[in-house]
C-alpha cells in the first residue's frame, strides 16, 4: 500500500481495528460466561488477559504511522494547547524571546550583508585588494609586472563641476584605471565600460555616469550615450551608464573618469594620488603567490621614483580579499554589536527558563501522571522541549517582525558611509539564522526545566500537592540562572557605560575651534578658471565682499580644507635647519591655505605672535603653525621668526604666529600619522598645493547669528550672480560637520545603550520573578515565623538576604567577566580605559540598587503575610 492511500484509508483502518478488538473481548467474555463464570468477573478476566487495550490499540495504529513525525505533531498540538491555557506566561515569554531574537536577527542581517554576503561581482572570490597605496607611476609598473593578478586603481574624492545645461552642479567623481570595470566584471546598464588604454592622455576624454545621476540630471535619456558633457570646463563623452546596483567604491560616486596616466607630468605621476589598488587573481594563481609577488614588487618599487622614497612607504604590504579590505573598518564594531546583542538574547533565555521553572512547580503533577500512564522519560522530555521550541518559534516569528522594523531603523542610525550598507537586507541566510536561533533558544530555554521536571520523583509528586519535592534543587537552579542573568546584565551595562564615557570624551574633545554659528559651503570654480591665479583670487575676494554685506555676518573667510571635513591637504615643506631623522628631505605637512580672518571666524585661539592680515596677502611671505608642530620642529624654543618653505617655492616664509591645535583629521587626532606638521599660509598666488597650483576648491566659513538657510540662499544667489558656472555645494553648519565626525561612535554607543537597557530591564524582571516565587513558596514558613513573634524587620531581613545574595553574586561575576572581556572593545574606546574604575564602580552600585529595589516588592508582600491565613490554607 503506498503512503498516499495509507493516508486516506487510515481512519477506516483504525475503525476496523477498534471494532475487531471489541469483538475479541466480547467473544472471550461470552466464552467465559458459557463456562459458568459470572459475567462481571468474566469481563474483568477478559480485560486482564487481553492487556492494556488503549496501549495495544495505540501500538497497532502506530504501525501505520510515521511515528516520530506524528508524535511530534501531537506534541506541537499539545504544546499549543498548554501555552494557550496560560496566556500571561506565553505572552511574556514570547515577547521576551521576540525582543532577543529580533535584536539578534537585525544585527545579524548587518553582519550578513556587510561581512558575509560576497561582493556583487562575478567570481568575487578572485577579487583582492593590495593593502598599500600607489601613485600612477607605481600602478603602471605594477600593471606591467604582476603575473599573478590583473590590477586597477581608483582615486576617490575628486569632484567635478558639471556646467552647461541648467544650474552648475558639483559632482562626486572617482578616477579609475581603464581596467577597473572589467576587473570587477561589472556590466553597464547602457553603453559600454572603459576599454584598455583609455586612461592614457589623449584617449581619456570619456565619462561613465551613475544610474542616479543619469536619472536626476538627464532624465534617464538613453540618447545621452555618445553625447558630451562639460566637466570642469572640459568636454567629455558619455560612454556608459552603470546600473543602480553598481556602487564601487561607494554610493557617493556619481561619475567615473579615467585616470590621466601621464609620465611627463612627473609630479602628478609619482606623487599625485596615492591610490588603493584592487586586483583579480589570474586563473591558477593563489592569494599566497600574489602576496609573494607584491612583496617582490614593493622591494623594487621605491627605486622607480624620481626621488628617494622613505623605507616605511608601504612596508609590510600584502594582498587580502577585496571584501575584507572594504569592510575592515567596521568589522570590529559590527562584531562587538553582535556580541552585545547575543548577551541580550542569553539574558532573555535565562528569564524565560526561569519563568518555565516557576511553571514547572505546577506541572510536576501533570508530568507525574503522564509517567504513571507509561510515558518514558525521553518521551516526556521531548514533549517539554517541543513546547519550549514552540514558544521560541512564536518568539522567532514576532522577532522577525521586530527585526524588519529594527533594520530600517538601524540603517538610518548607522553612518551613511558604512560600506555596503545598501546591500543589507533580510535574505534567506538571515531567515535561516532567525529560525536556527529560535530552535536553539527553545532548546536552551527548555532543557534545564525539562530535565528538572522529568527527573522529578514520581510518587513524591503524586502524593504531595505538587510541591515540596525537589524544590531545593529547583531553587538552586533558579538562583544560578538569576545570578547569571545579573552578571550578563552587569557586563553589558559596563560595556555601554564605557562606550558612553568614550563618546562623552570624544564629543567633549576641544576641537580647537568654535563650531557654533558657523555656516560652511564649498565654492569651486573650474580648475582651468583658477589656472589664472589672480582671476581665481579675485573671484574669491568678490565672494567675501558680497558675504560681508549679508545681514548678521560677523566674519567670513576661506580655507582649502575645513577641519573634520574629510579632506587632507598634504604638501612637502622644507624646514630651515631641520634634518629629518628618517632621511627624507622635505617633511610632509598638512597645508591650510586661508584668507585673512580665518582664525577669528573659526574661533581658533592664537597662542603666540599674530594671525594673517590683508597686508600678508601681497607682502613678505609668512606662515602660521600649530602648537604641536612648533613643539615638534622647534622644541624648547619659540617658533616665531623661524622659516619654512613650500617645496619648489622660491622664497622662505617667516613664521609669524602659533595657534592652538585643531582636530583637523578627526576628533581623536589632529592629523593622520603620516603627516608631520600643520602649517597655514595666506591665500595668494604663491600658496600652491602639491600640484603647484593655487587651490580652486575653497570652503567658505561664515560666522553669523542669522538663520543658516537664509544665509545659504543668499550665498547661492550671490555666487551665481558673480559666475553662474560656479556651483555652491556641501552647504552645512560647522556643528553638523562635527556631528558627522562622531556619527559612527554615536550610533555604536546608542545601540550599546539600547541593548544594555534591555538587559537591565530583563535582569530586573528576572530577580523580581525569582524572589516573588521564593516568597510564595515560603508563605507558610513566614506565617509560622510571624506567629511565633518574628517582627517585620526580621521578615524583611530574611527575604532581602536572599535577594541580596543573588544580586551581589551576579554583580561580582559580572564585574569579573567585564574585567576579562572588555579588552576586546578597547579599539573602540577613546579617552577611557576599558578597566575604567569609575564605570565599574558606578555600574556595580546602580545594579545593586536596582536589583534590591526589584526585591523590595516581593519582600513587602512577605511582610504582609497574615499568619492565620497562611497557616489555615497550607
Amino acid at each position: 500500500m503506498n503512503w498516499f492511500k495509507q493516508l486516506f484509508s487510515r481512519r477506516h483502518l483504525y475503525d476496523d481495528l477498534s471494532r475487531e478488538i471489541q469483538e475479541h473481548l466480547e467473544e472471550k467474555i461470552e466464552e467465559l460466561v458459557d463456562s459458568g463464570i459470572p459475567r462481571k468477573e468474566a469481563a474483568a478476566t477478559a480485560r486482564r488477559e487481553f492487556g492494556n487495550v488503549t496501549l495495544m490499540e495505540e501500538d497497532s495504529r502506530a504501525v501505520w504511522k510515521w511515528p516520530s513525525l506524528e508524535s511530534f505533531l501531537m506534541d506541537v498540538r499539545f504544546g499549543a494547547r498548554t501555552l494557550r491555557k496560560s496566556l500571561a506566561f506565553t505572552a511574556v515569554a514570547v515577547l521576551t524571546l521576540a525582543l532577543g531574537i529580533g535584536a539578534n536577527t537585525a544585527i545579524f542581517s548587518l553582519v550578513n550583508g556587510i561581512l558575509l554576503v560576497s561582493l556583487p561581482y562575478p567570481k568575487a572570490e578572485e577579487l583582492v585588494t593590495v593593502t598599500g597605496a600607489y601613485p600612477q607611476g607605481a600602478l603602471v609598473a605594477m600593471r606591467e609586472q604582476m603575473h599573478t593578478m590583473d590590477v586597477a586603481a581608483y582615486a576617490e574624492g575628486h569632484d567635478f563641476n558639471l556646467t552647461g545645461r541648467g544650474e552648475a552642479l558639483r559632482l562626486t567623481g572617482t578616477l579609475v584605471s581603464a581596467e577597473l570595470f572589467s576587473i570587477l566584471g561589472a556590466q553597464p546598464e547602457l553603453g559600454r565600460i572603459f576599454d584598455r588604454g583609455e586612461d592614457i592622455p589623449g584617449q581619456d576624454s570619456y565619462v561613465i555616469l551613475s544610474h542616479a545621476l543619469w536619472q536626476q540630471r538627464f532624465g534617464g535619456d538613453a540618447t545621452m550615450i555618445g553625447r558630451s558633457i562639460e566637466l570642469e570646463g572640459i568636454s567629455r563623452q558619455v560612454i556608459g551608464v552603470m546600473p543602480a546596483s553598481f556602487r564601487f567604491p561607494s554610493t557617493k560616486t556619481q561619475i567615473w573618469i579615467p585616470l590621466h596616466n601621464d609620465p611627463r607630468s612627473v609630479f602628478h605621476y609619482w606623487a599625485g594620488d596615492f591610490m588603493p589598488v584592487i586586483g583579480r587573481l589570474r586563473p591558477d594563481s593563489t592569494l599566497e603567490q600574489a602576496r609573494a609577488e607584491i612583496r617582490m614588487f614593493q622591494s623594487q618599487a621605491r627605486a622607480l621614483f624620481p626621488w628617494p622614497m622613505p623605507a616605511s612607504w608601504n612596508a609590510g604590504v600584502s594582498v587580502v580579499p577585496l571584501q575584507n579590505g572594504m569592510v575592515a573598518d567596521v568589522r570590529v564594531r559590527l562584531l562587538l554589536l553582535l556580541a552585545a546583542v547575543a548577551l541580550v538574547l542569553l539574558i532573555a533565555c535565562t528569564n524565560v527558563a526561569n519563568l518555565t521553572l516557576s511553571r514547572a512547580a505546577t506541572r510536576e503533577k501533570e508530568v507525574a501522571i503522564r509517567a504513571a500512564m507509561g510515558a518514558g522519560r525521553q518521551r516526556i522530555l521531548r514533549q517539554l522541549l517541543t513546547e519550549s521550541v514552540l514558544l521560541a518559534s512564536l518568539g522567532g516569528l514576532l522577532g522577525l517582525v521586530f527585526a524588519t522594523e529594527g533594520l530600517s531603523l538601524l540603517k538610518a542610525l548607522l553612518p551613511a558611509d558604512t560600506p555596503r550598507l545598501m546591500d543589507v537586507r533580510i535574505d534567506w541566510r538571515v531567515l535561516a539564522f532567525a529560525g536556527g536561533l529560535a530552535i536553539l533558544t527553545g532548546l536552551v530555554v527548555g532543557l534545564a526545566p525539562a530535565l528538572h521536571i522529568s527527573r522529578g520523583a514520581l510518587t513524591e509528586s503524586l502524593k504531595s500537592a505538587g510541591r515540596g519535592a525537589a524544590v531545593s534543587v529547583s531553587q538552586r537552579l533558579r538562583g544560578g540562572l538569576v545570578v547569571g542573568e545579573i552578571a550578563l546584565a552587569v557586563l553589558l551595562v559596563i560595556a555601554a557605560g564605557l562606550m558612553i564615557r568614550s563618546f562623552w570624551a570624544l564629543s567633549h574633545v576641544n576641537p580647537g575651534f568654535h563650531s557654533e554659528h558657523i555656516l560652511t559651503a564649498r565654492i569651486t570654480p573650474n580648475e582651468s578658471y583658477c589656472g589664472d591665479a589672480t582671476r581665481c583670487l579675485a573671484f574669491y575676494r568678490n565672494v567675501l565682499d558680497q558675504v560681508q554685506s549679508f545681514p548678521g555676518i560677523s566674519g567670513a573667510a576661506f580655507v582649502n580644507t575645513l577641519p573634520l571635513g574629510g579632506r587632507v591637504s598634504k604638501r612637502s615643506l622644507e624646514v630651515e635647519d631641520h634634518v629629518d631623522p628618517s632621511g627624507g628631505t622635505a617633511p610632509l605637512f598638512w597645508l591650510n591655505i586661508v584668507t585673512p580672518g580665518y582664525f577669528r571666524v573659526m574661533g581658533i585661539p592664537l597662542l603666540w605672535g599674530r594671525g594673517f592680515s590683508d597686508a600678508d596677502v601681497s607682502g613678505t611671505p609668512v606662515a602660521v603653525v600649530t602648537a604641536e608642530t612648533a613643539r615638534r620642529f622647534w622644541p624648547n624654543q619659540s617658533a616665531l621668526g623661524k622659516h619654512i618653505r613650500l617645496l619648489d617655492d622660491k622664497s622662505w616664509r617667516t613664521i609669524v604666529g602659533v595657534i592652538s591645535d585643531v582636530r583637523a583629521y578627526d576628533l581623536q587626532r589632529n592629523t593622520p600619522n603620516w603627516i608631520q606638521g600643520t602649517a597655514y599660509v595666506p591665500y595668494n598666488p604663491t600658496a600652491t598645493l602639491e600640484d603647484r597650483r593655487v587651490p580652486s576648491e575653497m570652503t567658505i566659513a561664515i560666522r553669523t547669528a542669522s538663520d543658516a538657510s537664509q544665509i545659504a540662499a543668499l550665498l547661492r544667489e550671490g555666487v551665481a550672480a558673480l559666475n553662474h558656472e560656479v556651483p555652491v555645494s556641501e552647504v552645512k553648519t560647522m556643528d553638523a560637520v562635527v556631528t558627522e565626525a562622531v556619527s559612527a561612535p554615536a550610533s555604536t554607543t546608542s545601540l550599546f545603550v539600547a541593548f544594555a537597557a534591555l538587559a537591565l530591564l530583563l535582569g530586573i524582571i528576572g530577580i523580581y520573578g525569582v524572589l516573588s516565587f521564593l516568597v510564595s513558596q515560603r508563605t507558610r514558613e513566614i506565617g509560622v515565623r510571624i506567629a511565633l513573634g518574628a517582627q517585620r524587620a526580621d521578615v524583611l531581613y530574611l527575604v532581602m538576604k536572599e535577594g541580596a545574595r543573588f544580586s551581589f553574586a551576579g554583580i561580582a561575576v559580572g564585574l569579573t567577566g567585564a574585567f576579562l572581556v572588555t579588552r576586546l572593545m578597547s579599539s573602540e574606546l577613546y579617552g577611557v580605559s576599558h578597566l575604567d574604575p569609575l564605570t565599574y564602580l558606578g555600574v556595580a552600585l546602580v545594579m545593586a540598587a536596582v536589583t534590591l529595589l526589584a526585591c523590595y516588592v516581593p519582600t513587602r508582600r512577605a511582610m504582609r503575610v497574615d499568619p492565620i491565613v497562611a497557616l489555615r490554607y497550607e
Binding site: M1, D16, L17, R19, E20, I21, E23, H24, E26, E27, K28, E30, E49, F50, G51, N52, V53, L55, M56, E57, D59, S60, R61, A62, V63, W64, G374
Partner: protein
C-alpha cells in the same frame, strides 16, 4: 508479546524492559504458521496458539493486534470481515503468497539459528 511468566513477575499492565519479546518476529512467525493451516480471526488465532503451545507460551492476547497490523502493512496477510459460525462479525485473516514465502524463509532461518544454539548448548556431540 511473548515472554516467560516467572512466578512473582509484575502484572502485564506495567511494562518492564525484561518482559519484551523473547526474540523479535517470533509472534509473527507463529501467526503466519497458524494461518497457513487455515484462515482465522484474531480471537481464534490467539486461542489456537495458546492451545498448541500447551500454554507454555503465555500470550498477552492484545499483543496479537499490533503484530497483525504489521503483517497487514507488509501485505503478508490480508483480512476481510465475515460472519463466524457463532454468528459473530469477525475479521478473518488469511495468508498471502508473499506471506507463505516469508514464512518459509523465516522458519528455515529460525531452524538454522536453533540448530546453532543447540549445538553450543550440547557440547561433545560434534
Amino acid at each position: 508479546m511473548v515472554y516467560d511468566r516467572r512466578p512473582g513477575a509484575d502484572s502485564p499492565l506495567m511494562k518492564k524492559p525484561e518482559q519484551r519479546d523473547l526474540f523479535p518476529g517470533a509472534l509473527e512467525m507463529m501467526i503466519l504458521r497458524t494461518l497457513k493451516r487455515q484462515p482465522l480471526h484474531g480471537y481464534a488465532l490467539v486461542q489456537h496458539i495458546k492451545r498448541t503451545s500447551n500454554d507454555l507460551l503465555q500470550i498477552e492476547e492484545g499483543s496479537l493486534y499490533p503484530a497483525l497490523q504489521r503483517l497487514l502493512k507488509e501485505e503478508l496477510v490480508k483480512a476481510e470481515w465475515a460472519v463466524s459460525s457463532t454468528n459473530r462479525r469477525v475479521r478473518i485473516y488469511r495468508l498471502t503468497a508473499a506471506g507463505a514465502k516469508h514464512l518459509q524463509r523465516e522458519v528455515s532461518s529460525f531452524e538454522r539459528m536453533l540448530e546453532g544454539i543447540t549445538r553450543v548448548l550440547t557440547p561433545g556431540e560434534s
